[in-house]
Symmetry: C2
Subunit: 300 residues, 2 copies
């Protein structure tokens, strides 16, 4: 068993954490949040999502936020389609997370197109990224392409079953198309150590050792540490988390929050696994963030 | 990876949970506690310890408790030496846990003899158990011999290091001598998933598949679920826990409580692993127990 000496935490508070929160931050506050996360030692932050303001109004300032953080590293933006990719590319983000879903029903709710269409869009994105061009033809350089599979460990809908082999199929297609990092998300928060381990091992075997797998957990049943342990044992060393356990997909009924960044960092440190992150810096940022959200609710 | 369908919970509240508690139960209350645990579906309860009343006065009624529970199954008693074994045998318990320590300093504090002497006593106990006789020659039948190693994952003393190979050596001697079940205890509560997994695998490889390994966790750093997950992945399916997270060795400075029975049962059920235990029955027993302990403190 090869345990890691260190792991990479990708904080997704500014994107997943805020997209469905009670209260809203101003663009300036979002930028401040991201900078505080980088200052606390988080190396990768999912800073925003280039999604339709019609569906996720809280992300309508994606350009403002991303442009302001152009000099930070690593900035990641979620994109659900080609249009989102173009918008992201224009702002100079370092990486984009292209998201599809292992649940056909969630795929339709969240992406508003079937999986095959999403994968087709990802192929066009990857081609354009390879040639360094945007749709408009302007050369704005390459971004790191991340592929992510929502609902990889369970469906939000009781009449749907997620089959690990299907998740592995999607993973393989994303990687063959050009994803250099592969996220598996427990969007519904129903993962157990068994399912997490089996799915991660199966996906890892399919996509090979060269493609880092990222685990994105929501925590409905407080099995987070068990899932993290199982993931470490499956060789996964990148975890997506959010401050205060905020977050949840707006298109999942009763969606549980993300796994809490502070908890995960604390667990890792107690296990003797380095994160490069300052726990005190995280705590201060969380306090400030929750205060800001509360103040926004009070104003509204 | 073979995940278990079910696990066995050995509740050690009446022994480890009470030995260092604030407040004391009467013998009648201890008996009621044990019966309530069996009623809730716990199949094995460590009902008492046959230790010197001088060192652990709260266990001075071991005979009363054990005799009253003679018809319950499975009753387990901890014994630190031959004298304790003889006392246990006379009461008709189903199993005894003979305890040694992987920490030489803790061995001396807790058992008041070096490891070699403890192991010598265990050999004599095993011989007598084989021939079905007590020291006095009366035929009181066999008991199930359990061997247990305290401090298997860390020492209470900063100038001592616990080496997994040493733990495996002791385990092998206990099993060769006659232990049919082998407990590894994180007496200090410093285990991490890495250390727990590596130690369990090493011990398992040494003692073979035929001897069930029992994990007894204390939880200083709230890594319990991670340690449990690592243990399940190492093939361990028996766990010792205590209600309310009570307990701790009187001879370990600032000893943390046991892993909480309710928590562990809840985790297992959420993972889809059966325990045969009724969560509501546990909760009622815990409420009653904590009330009884508080009342005892108030009286004192």
């Amino acid at each position: 068993m090869k345990w890691p000496q260190s792991v990479r935490i990708v904080d997704v508070t500014p994107r997943d954490g805020l997209q469905d929160a009670d209260g809203a931050l101003t663009s300036e506050q979002k930028i401040r949040l991201c900078k505080a996360l980088y200052d606390a030692g988080v190396r990768s932050v999912e800073i925003t999502a280039f999604v339709s303001p019609k569906w996720v109004p809280l992300m309508k300032d994606a350009e403002t936020v991303a442009t302001a953080l152009r000099d930070c590293h690593e900035t990641i933006a979620l994109v659900p389609n080609e249009k989102g990719f173009d918008r992201a590319l224009a702002t100079g983000v370092d990486a984009v997370t292209f998201v599809v879903s292992a649940s056909p029903m969630h795929q339709q709710e969240n992406l508003r197109m079937p999986l095959a269409d999403s994968l087709q869009q990802f192929r066009r994105i990857a081609e354009r990224n390879d040639t360094g061009g945007s749709a408009a033809g302007a050369d704005v350089g390459r971004v790191r392409l991340r592929g992510a599979i929502s609902c990889a460990f369970g469906s939000p809908f009781s009449d749907e079953t997620i089959v690990p082999a299907h998740v592995a199929d999607i993973a393989e297609q994303l990687v063959e198309t050009g994803a250099v990092e592969l996220g598996l998300a427990d969007t519904v928060g129903v993962g157990t150590p068994q399912v997490v381990y089996e799915t991660l091992c199966r996906v890892k075997a399919r996509v090979g050792e060269g493609v880092p797998i990222v685990l994105h957990l929501h925590d409905r049943y407080e099995l987070g540490l068990g899932n993290i342990t199982a993931a470490l044992m499956a060789g996964v060393t990148t975890f997506e988390t959010a401050l205060g356990g905020l977050g949840g997909c707006p298109f999942v009924p009763d969606a549980p929050g993300n796994l809490d960044t502070e908890k995960v960092v604390c667990w890792m440190h107690r296990m003797g696994i380095e994160t490069g992150i300052d726990e005190e810096g995280l705590a201060q940022t969380r306090t400030w963030l929750l205060d800001a959200l509360r103040a926004s609710v009070a104003r509204a």
